[in-house]
Symmetry: C2
């Protein structure tokens, strides 16, 4: 049995953040596929026994059970002493960009992608609303990366791992890499980290997947 | 001049989280009103000189400038040694509920309230979408508080201060306190903390306010 177990599915950028961190830290881990698209995270059993918030990812490590990707990133950073802040000021910057990601960038991008790819009956006004907010959040990140290699400083931190989660799916939301040059260069730097792989290669999909 | 300065406005539950924490910690602080409804946070000048994310609240403390309410809460908790976790496990719980608040509860509630109160031309489908998600997030919190006095344990932490931010505006989103008994009892416990006051009493409004 592996040391860490991650409840996850490959279409989830939030699950990817956790899986990528495990890989980048060289953790001994295994994936436990969650059948999200058939409602697995919304069952009473899942909420009782895995996560009351009804979400993936969830990380199991001995008696420790953690949800929310930002918490999993923090926990692994503490355990492996990797991708953390270098000083007190950077600690708040890392948290600031992790919160911005959760509150805005991932929230809008993940919802827009879900609605446009997997919810054929979704209202166009709702999709337009999320698309506009997604572009707003991406614009903040693009500007932030104008004069920085990574979001909080010169080295990658868990804030970068959080923010990149949904951005490797850019083609799925109709965005062109060339229109986001700073973000694209930053994603290339993340791809160059030893252990990186794309979410569709890293995490398990459903039994019907190719 | 006060030790802390908070860029804020009274209609913002996020600004309220920061203002409430300053009050509960007995900080020496002053409010700097931000004219959000006339677009003050979206100007180039504000983004350049105050907050690149184009948001309030922002806390100024000497040379330190912080945005994102969750970061401000963490910073003040570190400075005053108040409302922090009691141990390592609680540290992750506090972060987990703060992230849940940012990602879901505040994100959906704040947006729904904004659209239904201040955006007369907002599409009904968009409002319905946010309302449904808001109710989902409130339901998670209501269940969490079934057997707990506060979100992360028996004492209040910054996770409670984060989550309550928009819930003192419940009447404005058409929700009845009686339908959320655990949440209502918890809000009463927060109101009983020395220094508590309602956002409309604590933070400044526009010059035209009564």
């Amino acid at each position: 049995m592996s040391e860490y177990k991650l409840f996850c599915f490959k279409e989830s950028g939030n699950a990817y953040k956790a899986g990528l961190m495990l890989e980048l830290c060289g953790a001994d881990w295994q994936a436990e596929w969650v059948d999200f698209f058939n409602g697995a995270t919304r069952t009473d059993d899942y909420k009782e026994s895995v996560n009351e918030m009804g979400e993936a990812p969830v990380l199991i490590h001995g008696d420790v059970k953690l949800s929310q990707s930002g918490v999993i990133l923090q926990y692994l950073s503490d355990r492996f002493d990797r991708f953390g802040p270098r000083d007190e000021a950077e600690k708040y910057e890392v948290l600031r960009w992790t919160l911005f990601d959760n509150h805005k960038l991932t929230s809008y991008t993940g919802t827009y992608r879900f609605l446009s790819r997997w919810a054929p009956s979704a209202d166009q006004a709702v999709k337009d609303f999320f698309h506009a907010r997604m572009i707003g959040a991406w614009t903040v990140l693009e500007k932030r990366l104008e004069d920085r290699s990574f979001v909080a400083g010169s080295e990658p931190t868990i804030a970068d791992i959080s923010l990149c989660g949904y951005l490797f799916f850019r083609d799925e939301v109709g965005e062109d890499a060339a229109d986001w040059p700073n973000t694209t260069a930053w994603l290339e730097r993340i791809k160059a980290l030893p252990g990186w792989s794309h979410p569709y290669d890293l995490l398990p999909g459903g039994p019907g997947d190719a």
